[in-house]
């Protein structure tokens, strides 16, 4: 293995020259701004699984559940380290080494296993370190981590014990837990280096570390050109583990993690889990079939557990999640009316209508609600219509009140089509108090007002909406870069054009992003 890439292996300081081979020049697109990100809980799990062969199972829950920030669990702003994270990383670093099959792991990374022999110790540190840190280690790093073999020797332990100490330390080190890059900039921008690009690609597409093949491509300069990046990304998208990222995206986008381990009235934990799996599978099948992302909003296919199929009026194919065609099903088109989604975007305490409308506005149209004025006092707006009135009736009452209309007009109508779905996505035509429920309405999108009579019409309008399609692009950019929505600008349009031109599919989206300068470069974007 070579240590010549000091600029790659020595970000923490030292004698690296700070520059090196990189991608070809920018082409005039918006340049990137790098946000160092910690591995998410899921990325930690996948990386340990792929590199060390350890399936953590429920032990991963020693780490806290990641919080969605602006909808995403991998937002740089949200990936802080709390006390629980530090404790979790510490505990997992002791658990993981005990679960490793050393016959396999050492066979992959060392040619000898003699404690006290420098060659045997440094070989492991170099080879395993490169897999865990996603780049070759600097000489200083090799020496530092290999010293832990000295500790093992001093305690009269074995080579394997020494290896365990090395792994413990590596699993808690910043080189493992963070996607770190050499942020030294000499000029207006920096080009992302080969190993850094391998890591960016790998965590975007696989939610895990680069494999040996990808690192080999990086070492040979195969990621130094836009064409090289695209070729490798295309290969990676063909690998089965690319579904990890598309699944993570849709789980974040539609807040589906809320179905994991929770229950509601009429919905057990197991049923909720079935809906989660079904909603993810609905999206995944869309990705697998190479269909445009936005059309998942009015897809005629749903993956459902048996009980939910019956909610659709379809004969169940069994308890498990199965594919169902919706051609003959009314008012049940697209992923939004999937009971999994209907459940997660509902809010029976606040009112399902407001929560669903806000969701569509913020996560499908990428618009934020106006903040109510500081002197707003809700005392005047009580439940004067009585408990029997439907949410639609209250909404229409708000629309008639200028104090309320300013905000609620933005999002209430976006949920009118879903009035017939209860808090867990069951279809009903009357409320619990016998009031009729409706699915018609009209909403404003840009400068146009659109009318609809049914859910089918409404979700088709959303799927075809230019603002929704641009929002899909913005959401993917946020997911890929870890940025806040407000930090993104013209790159949305630039990526969007390429994405649409290439068919609007998930694959087109990933390729449009990785080929763009926003992914391949970084500006300072901060005061050093």
């Amino acid at each position: 293995m070579g240590l010549a890439s000091a600029c790659l292996g020595n970000i923490g300081g030292g004698d690296g020259d700070g520059d090196g081979p990189g991608l070809d020049e920018p082409v005039g697109e918006v340049l990137g701004r790098w946000s160092t990100r910690r591995l998410t809980k899921e990325q930690y799990r996948f990386t340990v699984q792929d590199v060390l062969g350890v399936n953590l199972g429920s032990e991963i829950d020693r780490l806290p559940t990641e919080t969605r920030t602006e909808g995403f669990t991998n937002s740089a702003l949200g990936l802080v380290v709390t006390t629980d994270h530090a404790d979790g990383f510490f505990e997992l670093a002791e658990i993981v080494p005990e679960a490793i099959d050393y016959g396999v792991l050492l066979g992959e990374h060392t040619s000898c296993q003699t404690l006290g022999e420098d060659a045997c110790e440094t070989e492991l540190v170099q080879s395993l370190g490169e897999a865990l840190f996603r780049r070759p280690l600097s000489e200083e790093e090799v020496v530092t981590f290999a010293e832990l073999f000295d500790t093992a020797e001093a305690e009269e332990l074995t080579y394997v014990d020494g290896a365990k100490l090395v792994i413990q330390a590596m699993l808690q080190s910043p080189q493992f837990l963070y996607q770190l890059e050499d942020e030294t900039i000499d000029g207006a921008y920096r080009k992302v280096q080969s190993y850094e690009m391998a890591s960016r690609l790998s965590y975007l597409i696989w939610q895990s570390a680069p494999d040996a093949a990808l690192r080999k491509v990086a070492a040979e300069g195969g990621l130094d050109t836009r064409e090289g990046v695209l070729a490798e990304a295309e290969r990676m998208l063909e690998v089965a583990k690319s579904t990890r990222s598309s699944a993570r995206f849709v789980r974040d986008w539609f807040a589906l993690d809320a179905l994991d381990g929770t229950a509601r009235e009429g919905l057990t934990v197991d049923m909720a889990r079935g809906l989660l799996d079904g909603a993810v599978a609905t999206y995944q099948s869309h990705v697998d079939e190479g269909l445009p992302i936005a059309s998942v909003l009015d897809t005629q296919v749903a993956y459902l557990p048996g009980f939910a199929a019956e909610w659709y009026g379809l004969p169940s194919k069994g308890e498990g999640v199965e594919r169902y065609e919706l051609d003959d099903v009314q008012e049940r088109v697209g992923i939004l009316s999937h009971p999994g989604t209907m459940t997660t975007i509902s809010d029976r305490d606040l009112g399902g209508l407001v929560a669903r409308g806000l969701f569509v506005m913020e996560h499908l149209m990428c618009r934020h609600a106006l903040t109510p004025p500081p002197d707003l006092n809700l005392s005047d707006f009580t439940t004067h219509l009585g408990p029997e009135a439907t949410e639609r009736a209250y909404s229409e009452d708000r629309m008639a009140n200028n104090s309320c209309k300013g905000c609620h007009l933005q999002f209430d109508p976006l949920a009118y089509a879903f009035e017939r779905f209860d808090g867990i996505g069951r279809y009903q035509t009357e409320s619990e108090t016998g009031q009729p429920l409706f699915s018609d309405g009209e909403f404003i999108d840009g400068s146009e007002t659109y009318s609809f009579e049914t859910v089918d019409e409404y979700v088709s309008l959303l799927a075809e909406s230019d603002s929704v399609q641009r929002c899909v692009t913005k959401k993917h950019l946020m997911f890929a870069l870890g940025h806040r929505g407000e930090d993104l600008g013209p790159e949305i349009e630039q990526v969007h054009e390429r994405f649409i031109a290439a068919g609007g599919t998930y694959e087109a989206m990933v390729l449009a992003i990785v080929a763009h300068d926003v992914f391949r470069t970084a500006t300072l974007g901060e005061t050093p």
């Binding site: 020595n10 970000i11 923490g12 300081g13 030292g14 700070g18 790098w34 946000s35 160092t36 910690r38 919080t67 602006e70 702003l77 802080v80 709390t82 006390t83 994270h85 404790d87 510490f90 006290g116 420098d118 060659a119 440094t122 070989e123 170099q126 000489e139 530092t144 981590f145 290999a146 010293e147 832990l148 000295d150 500790t151 020797e153 100490l165 330390a169 808690q172 080190s173 080189q175 963070y178 770190l180 050499d182 929770t262 509601r264 997660t344 809010d347 029976r348 305490d349 934020h368 903040t371 109510p372 500081p374 707003l376 006092n377 809700l378 009580t382 806040r484 407000e486 300072l524 901060e526």
Partner: protein
């Protein structure tokens, strides 16, 4: 390629740091005085703890003084300055996301997912301890709440300067106990040789890890400024972890409480549906909060932490209490079919009044723990008297920002306390007066709404 390296059977790390073994048996002084807790510091250390309660307190009810929902605070009136006319228009809007991100920060966020800046406790922590706090825990956030659907503003009260959350609140008393006291060996127990070796190995590993974080956070790092801050924050968490794992002497001068049994409540994400109001027994909720308050107070007395927040109900609430609240003058039956938020939202005056009274009775309990004169500090004062305690909430009357109740403790003689303060003031003015009283330069919060320090507060 093989790298040659200097080697010694007793490695550098072993020689320098581990040769003597790690003593984990703790000196355990029964004395309640805290003379040794502060170490060599002659003055009480600067501490800033924020106390939060959700949903606000209507301005008219504040004006009722101790004959209204503020009645439970009466025993602590001599130790507080209570502001009843706080303008929090720096929240930049009405409602929970605006108020929930503004309280203790002094500026509302445009997005309930992050703040506009650091909270006052974090401002003080960073300013007074730029190289890391000397306590085992840097920031301690504890709270009882269920709402977590719409944004971090609901449960996060401790914010970093970049708008990210500093820590997540701990909910279960047993979890809080474990974090504060769980790693300490009881006095008199024999050290286990195998455990001692395990600790030496842990020390070697963590020394290696810490060196790496220091390298990346240091001046020669090739990371940018923002990235270095992230690494430095992580390093701080590891240093805190070390103090827990290798607990030596840190409990001298304080008393480990009994391990609590958690009241029957759903805790954490597993217990709470994301969107629905959670129906719980008010008695259990209160019991959990009070256990947490007791542990928090002990953590302060033991100098395990100096900065953080204790929260009673989240911003926006949405807890549906059941059972009876026995106030001194009234017995109130909770309407379990409605969440506390709905009582505010729908301006149910009677229900809101007794919910608010219930809230304040628990805030008063937390204050009584901080003010327990069985635990006087070296200068003869209680924690409440010595520390900066800022009590605040998110809204005034039903989601507006007019009359957002606040109170401030004396902070070891820095502030005049003992009465209501009804002069108009912005929350950001109060916060800045607080930090300036600790000789911290600069201002926090919205400069557009900052009218200058509240000099009448100063002692």
């Amino acid at each position: 390629m093989t790298i040659r390296r200097y080697r010694n059977v007793l490695s550098r790390r072993t020689l320098l740091r581990g040769a003597g073994g790690v003593a984990i048996a703790l000196p355990f002084v029964e004395a309640m005085r805290a003379s040794s807790v502060w170490g060599a510091e002659p003055e009480p250390p600067a501490r800033c703890i924020t106390l939060f309660f959700g949903l606000g307190l209507p301005k008219a009810m504040q004006q009722e003084g101790f004959s209204g929902p503020l009645e439970p605070l009466a025993p602590h009136a001599s130790k507080l300055r209570m502001f009843r006319n706080v303008d929090m228009s720096e929240a930049r809007g009405a409602g929970h996301p605006a108020g929930g991100t503004c309280v203790f920060v002094g500026e509302g966020s445009s997005n309930g997912e992050y703040s506009a800046g650091a909270s006052i406790d974090q401002v003080m922590k960073k300013a007074l301890h730029p190289n890391g706090v000397p306590t085992p825990i840097g920031t301690l956030a504890v709270g009882n709440f269920f709402r977590r659907a719409h944004g971090l503003y609901q449960r996060i009260r401790c914010w970093n300067e970049d708008g990210s959350r500093t820590v997540e609140p701990i909910e279960a008393p047993s979890e809080l106990f474990a974090q504060l006291f769980g790693n300490f060996q009881q006095p008199g127990s024999e050290p286990d040789p195998e455990q001692q070796r395990k600790q030496r190995l842990r020390r070697s590993v963590l020394d290696t890890v810490v060196d790496e974080y220091e390298r990346y956070a240091g001046a020669s790092s090739k990371l940018g400024a923002e990235s270095r801050v992230k690494i430095a924050d992580h390093l701080e968490r590891i240093r805190e972890l070390e103090k827990r794992v290798f607990a030596e002497d840190v409990l001298e001068g304080c008393q480990v409480p009994d391990e609590p049994t958690d009241p029957d409540l759903p805790y954490g994400l597993s217990g709470a549906t994301e969107y629905d109001a959670v129906q719980v027994s008010a008695a259990s909720f209160q019991a959990a909060y009070r256990l947490n308050a007791e542990l928090y107070a002990m953590a302060l007395r033991c100098d395990l932490v100096r900065f953080g927040n204790l929260m009673f109900e989240s911003s926006g609430g949405h807890t549906a209490f059941s059972g009876t609240y026995e106030a001194p003058s009234h017995s109130y039956e909770f309407r379990s079919e409605a969440s506390d938020h709905n009582n505010w939202h729908e301006s149910r005056e009677y229900d809101m009044r007794w919910h608010a009274h219930f809230f304040q009775s628990n805030i008063a309990y937390a204050l009584s723990q901080l003010d327990d004169d069985d635990y006087l500090e070296e200068n003869g004062n209680t924690v409440l008297e010595n520390a900066l305690v800022v009590l605040g909430t998110e809204t005034g009357t039903n989601h507006d920002m007019d009359g957002v109740f606040h109170a401030v403790s004396g902070a070891n003689g820095r502030f005049e306390v003992g009465d209501f303060d009804d002069a108009r003031v912005n929350a950001v003015d109060i916060y800045n007066t607080c930090i300036h009283a600790y000789d911290i330069d600069g201002n926090i919060g919205s400069q557009a709404h900052y009218n200058g320090d509240v000099t009448r507060m100063l002692a």
